[in-house]
C-alpha cells in the first residue's frame, strides 16, 4: 500500500482496516510505515481507540434495521414451477425435486450456480462434477473441481459435502471446497465447517483453510482472506500477495485454459481483485500488468513468469 503522499490520519485508518483482515500479510510494510514517523504510531493507536470508544457508545443503542437486501437472492418465482426438469436460466438452475440422483458437470471455464432443494446455494467453477440425490437433499458429493456453498444452516439436519473421501459438515456457513485428484482444500468464508467429525475432526472458522495434499496425508491449516474464499463465484479473484502457483491454478480453473507458472520463487506483489470478465485472452491481458507478470502463449494456454523491470 502506498501511503507516501497520504495524510497520516488517513493512512492510519487504511492500515487499521487492512490489518483487521484475516489474511493480511504486509507486516513488513506496516512496520516500515510505523517507523517512518512517530506520528504514524500515534495516529494508528488513535484509530483503535476511536473504534473501542464508538463501539461502547453504539452498543447502548438498538441496531439500525438493515434496509431490504438488494436482489442478490436469486430465487425463481413460483416454486411450483420447479416440477419441470432442470431449468437453466441465465446460468441459474433449480433442481427437479422428483428426479433420481443427478450428476451435474461444468465444462472448463464454465460457471454455474444451482439452487438446492433445501434453500442452499451451490456455485460450480469450471471442470467441476457434483452429484445430488433428492433422497438426501442435504448432501452433495463433489467429485472433481471446485464449488462454493452458501448453506441454509440447520443444526438438526446438517448440510454435508462428501469430497475426496472426506466428510465436511456445515455448521452455518459459506465455504469453498476444492478437489484436485486426491488433493483437497476447504476454506470457510462465514460460519463454520467441521472437517471429518469425530476424534480427529478439525473445526474451521471464517478465514481458516484446510489443505490435504493427498489421501492419508495429514491436513494442514492455513489462513485465507474470507473475501478471497469462493470469490471466483462472483466473477472475481481476490488476492493478497499470492504465490504464483496459486494464481496459475485459479486462472486455469476459472477461464478453462491451462496457465502454468514458470519460476519466480517470491510472492506476487499484488493486493486486490482480478475481474474475470470477457474471453480468456481478455482476462490474461488484464491480469499481466496488474500482477506484474507476463503471459506467453503456450499450447492451448499460457506460461506465466515474473515481468522484468522495477518493482511496482
Amino acid at each position: 500500500m502506498n501511503a507516501q503522499d497520504m495524510d497520516p490520519q488517513e493512512a492510519a485508518r487504511l492500515w487499521a482496516i487492512r490489518v483487521q483482515q484475516p489474511a493480511f500479510g504486509d507486516w513488513d510494510g506496516f512496520t516500515e510505515w510505523l517507523e517512518r514517523d512517530p506520528a504514524h504510531l500515534a495516529a494508528y493507536d488513535a484509530v483503535l481507540d476511536d473504534e473501542v470508544w464508538a463501539a461502547a457508545l453504539l452498543s447502548a443503542a438498538p441496531a439500525v434495521e438493515p434496509e431490504a437486501p438488494p436482489v442478490r437472492r436469486w430465487w425463481l418465482a413460483g416454486s411450483a414451477a420447479v416440477a419441470a426438469a432442470v431449468a437453466v436460466l441465465g446460468g441459474w438452475a433449480v433442481l427437479d425435486r422428483d428426479a433420481p440422483a443427478q450428476q451435474i458437470a461444468t465444462a472448463p471455464g464454465e460457471h454455474r450456480t444451482i439452487e438446492l432443494a433445501d434453500g442452499s446455494r451451490m456455485a460450480l467453477n469450471g471442470a467441476t462434477r457434483v452429484t445430488i440425490d433428492s433422497d438426501t437433499p442435504r448432501q452433495v458429493v463433489l467429485e472433481q473441481g471446485e464449488a462454493r456453498f452458501d448453506v441454509r444452516h440447520d443444526a438438526s439436519d446438517p448440510f454435508v459435502v462428501l469430497s475426496g473421501g472426506a466428510r465436511l459438515v456445515d455448521a452455518g456457513t459459506v465455504f469453498n471446497v476444492l478437489q484436485d485428484g486426491d488433493a483437497l482444500e476447504v476454506a470457510v468464508a462465514e460460519g463454520a465447517v467441521i472437517y471429518e467429525p469425530g476424534p480427529d475432526e478439525v473445526r474451521l472458522a471464517p478465514g481458516d483453510m484446510l489443505k490435504r495434499p493427498g489421501r492419508g496425508v495429514k491436513p494442514v491449516l492455513a489462513k485465507a482472506s474470507p473475501q478471497a474464499i469462493g470469490s471466483w463465484a462472483t466473477g472475481e479473484l481476490y488476492y493478497d500477495n499470492p504465490a504464483p502457483d496459486q494464481v496459475a491454478r485459479d486462472l486455469t480453473r476459472s477461464i478453462g485454459r491451462p496457465v502454468r507458472s514458470a519460476g519466480g520463487t517470491g510472492r506476487i506483489r499484488f493486493t486486490g481483485t482480478l475481474v474475470l470478465r470477457g474471453t480468456p485472452e481478455e482476462v490474461v491481458a488484464r491480469a499481466g500488468p496488474l500482477l506484474g507478470v507476463t503471459f506467453v502463449v503456450d499450447g492451448e494456454g499460457w506460461t506465466m513468469s515474473p515481468a522484468h523491470g522495477p518493482p511496482r
Partner: protein
C-alpha cells in the same frame, strides 16, 4: 506429528525471526519493552491450540499485534482511572440525570453524523466491530463489494475520530 512438535515449530520460528518480530514490536510502541513482549508472545504461543499452522510467521505477527493491543488496553484503562481521580471537574458534581442526557445526545450526534455519510456506514461499523463479522462476510451479506465496505469503514473512522476529539474538548 504431536503437540510438542508444533509448539517447538512455532517457537523455533520466533527464534529464527526474532529480530523481525522485535522490530515490529518496537515500531508498534513497545520500544524498551519489546524483549519483554516477545517473551510474552513466546508464552502465549506455548498455550496455543495444537493444530498445525501453515503460515507460522503471519500467525506470529498477528499474535504480536493482538498482544500489543491487549497491553495497551490495560495501560489505557489504568491511566484513565488515574486521570479520573484527578479530574478538575469531579464527576460527582454532575447530576446523574445530566450525564445521561449528555450521553444520549452524543449518541444521537454520532448516529446522525454516520447516517449523513451513507446508508450503510453505521451498519457496516456495527457488523464489523459489534457483531465481529469479517469485512468480506459483511460485503456478501449486504450485497455490496468489499471495496464499498472498506470505504464505509474509512468514512466511519474518520467521523468517529473527529467526534471523539470534539467531545473530549467539551
Amino acid at each position: 506429528m504431536n503437540r510438542d512438535d508444533d509448539i517447538s515449530g512455532l517457537q523455533r520460528v520466533i527464534l529464527n525471526e526474532r529480530s523481525r518480530l522485535l522490530r515490529f514490536l518496537a515500531a508498534r510502541g513497545m520500544s524498551d519493552d519489546a524483549e519483554d513482549a516477545l517473551h510474552d508472545l513466546w508464552q502465549r504461543v506455548a498455550a496455543a491450540p495444537s493444530q498445525p499452522i501453515a503460515d507460522p510467521l503471519s500467525y506470529l505477527f498477528r499474535a504480536a499485534e493482538n498482544l500489543v493491543r491487549d497491553r495497551r488496553r490495560s495501560t489505557v484503562s489504568r491511566d484513565r482511572r488515574h486521570q479520573d481521580w484527578h479530574d478538575t471537574i469531579p464527576r460527582e458534581e454532575q447530576p446523574t440525570g445530566e450525564r445521561g442526557l449528555i450521553a444520549r445526545e452524543r449518541l444521537r450526534e454520532v448516529q446522525s453524523t454516520l447516517a449523513a455519510l451513507g446508508p450503510r456506514v453505521e451498519l457496516v461499523f456495527r457488523k464489523c466491530r459489534l457483531d465481529g463479522l469479517g469485512q468480506a462476510a459483511i460485503a456478501r451479506e449486504l450485497g455490496v463489494s468489499l471495496s464499498s465496505v472498506e470505504k464505509d469503514l474509512q468514512k466511519a473512522y474518520r467521523a468517529l475520530g473527529q467526534l471523539r476529539a470534539k467531545f473530549d474538548a467539551e
